[in-house]
Structure formats: structure tokens, C-alpha cells
């Protein structure tokens, strides 16, 4: 996996609570970034910032009863971990930029954060296929990632 050294030696603590509304997050601008994703990316159903070492969301916005974002955070953590493991087994010395899952009516976009302070996190975006522009959404999600890095 991507982690280096024993878990205990890592300086960052994993957050063991789900901040449903993105409040009281460890990075002050999480909420702003999620809000920006929700409003500026056309067709967004829900968005979450997820720690894939624990499978828990640091912040979520949108979703609702048709899309439980804490379930999505936990489930997509397994998706990311499986892909990381597969690449390791294949001997690919590369990193994942993003993962696209196309459903009948939705796009699910997973973008792994790359900056030093944010390793082990991914942005998860669920889009309504009929309203979304995939190329634009990918581009804008990159911008949301940049917002988190400030």
C-alpha cells in the first residue's frame, strides 16, 4: 500500500468521526471546497472527502436518502484500496490520478489527493449523468483539489 513505515509512526491521526455537514473539520477549508464542488460542478448529487486509511469521511455535502455518503465513503475506500493493491501486484510503479465509475444514470468520480499533507485522502463525487459534463467535472474537481491544498 501507499503508507510508509508502521502506522504508529505516522504523525497524522485518523479522524474517527463522520462530519456529516463538513463542520469542525481538521482542514479549515474542507467545507468551502466541498461547497464549491457542489455548486460549481454541474449535475453534482453529492461530494465527500474521505480518508482511505480508515474509510471515514472528513466531510460530506449533498447526498441524502438516495445516496448515503458515509456508506459511499466506506465502500469506495475498498475500491481505492483494491486498485492500489492491484497496481502493486502488477508491479506498476505509478500512482492513481482518478477513478471513474459509470453507472446507468450516474457518474462516480474518485480523485486521489496528491499533496504532501493530504496523502491517504480522496475526493468522491457523484454526478447525475443526464446533467453532467464529464470532462468539465474532471477539470473542476482538479481545481477543488487545489483549493484543499492552500
Amino acid at each position: 500500500m501507499t503508507s510508509t513505515g508502521p502506522r504508529a509512526a505516522r504523525p497524522r491521526n485518523t479522524t474517527h468521526s463522520t462530519h456529516r455537514k463538513g463542520s469542525a473539520n481538521p482542514m479549515g477549508n474542507t467545507e468551502t471546497a466541498l461547497k464549491d464542488a457542489m455548486t460549481s460542478i454541474e449535475g453534482t448529487i453529492g461530494v465527500a472527502l474521505v480518508d482511505y486509511s480508515s474509510g471515514m469521511a472528513l466531510g460530506t455535502l449533498g447526498g441524502g436518502k438516495d445516496l448515503d455518503l458515509s456508506v459511499a465513503a466506506a465502500g469506495n475506500t475498498d475500491v481505492v484500496r483494491a486498485k492500489v493493491r492491484t497496481m502493486e501486484l502488477l508491479g506498476l510503479k505509478d500512482e492513481i490520478e482518478d477513478i471513474l465509475i459509470t453507472l446507468g444514470g450516474q457518474y462516480h468520480l474518485i480523485r486521489l489527493l496528491k499533496s504532501r499533507g493530504h496523502t491517504g485522502l480522496f475526493l468522491y463525487l457523484a454526478l447525475d449523468k443526464s446533467r453532467a459534463n464529464l470532462a468539465m467535472a474532471r477539470h473542476q474537481l482538479r481545481r477543488v483539489e487545489d483549493m484543499l491544498e492552500v
Binding site: 485518523t14 480508515s54 469521511a57 456508506v71 466506506a74 475506500t77 475498498d78 484500496r81
Partner: protein, 129 residues
């Protein structure tokens, strides 16, 4: 099927769904094993669960957090988690360090609710018979 067998089925199902869970047990709130799957020295774990539960309940009450729901302890080599299961029992799980805690919570809450129904149902039958 007896309640005990059904609880055991539920524990095994949980372990199948989450391979990172290395052991599972259901104990009464006073620390007696009701059913267990792949836990060494389950009696001690159940007794310790009851002790931890006592402290956790006092903590939630004292701080005005309501009834006990769950308790997660992370050691260097993994997790020990306890979830409420109805009024008379708890579900304790042991898990590996790389466990997806989000999924652990989702699956364990569901299993805890189901086991709670089984235990409370069995107790009701005892009282009425």
C-alpha cells in the same frame, strides 16, 4: 434455530463480509459470552468488554451523551470495538490494523441491531414462559 445459533450465524456472516475482522463475540452486558467466533479466551474478552462498557456508559451519562452506542479502541496492532446490541447484550469485534473503520461501523451497527432483536426476543420468551 435457537437464538444462540442465530447469533453465531450473524457473527460468521459479519466476518465473511469483513475479512479484516479476526474475531467476533456477543456478550451479555454483565460480561458472559452468549456466542463467539474465532476469539481466543472469549470469557476474558467478554468480561473486559463488560468492564469497558461500564466506564463507557458512565462517561456518556455524565457528559449528557445519552445511552451507550459504541466504543472503538485502536492499539498498535489493530482494533477492539464494542457496539450496543439491544438492551441486554453487546457485540465485540477484533480487527486488523488496516481495517476500513467506516465499513466496520456500518456492518457492526447493522449486526448489533439484528443481534439485539434476537437477544431481546429470547429474553421476552423466557419471561412469558
Amino acid at each position: 434455530m435457537t437464538a444462540e445459533a442465530e447469533i453465531l450465524t450473524e457473527l460468521r456472516r459479519l466476518r465473511t463480509r469483513l475479512p479484516q475482522v479476526t474475531g467476533a463475540l456477543t456478550a451479555s452486558v454483565d460480561g458472559l459470552v452468549l456466542a463467539q467466533d474465532a476469539i481466543d479466551d472469549a470469557e476474558s474478552v467478554a468480561a473486559l468488554t463488560a468492564a469497558a462498557l461500564g466506564v463507557a456508559q458512565r462517561l456518556t451519562h455524565t457528559t449528557g451523551r445519552g445511552a451507550f452506542r459504541e466504543l472503538l479502541v485502536q492499539g498498535e496492532d489493530g482494533y477492539a470495538a464494542t457496539y450496543a446490541a439491544g438492551s441486554a447484550a453487546v457485540l465485540t469485534l477484533l480487527a486488523l490494523p488496516r481495517t476500513n473503520v467506516g465499513r466496520l461501523h456500518l456492518e457492526a451497527r447493522r449486526a448489533g441491531a439484528r443481534i439485539g432483536e434476537l437477544v431481546d426476543g429470547a429474553l421476552e420468551r423466557l419471561e412469558t414462559s
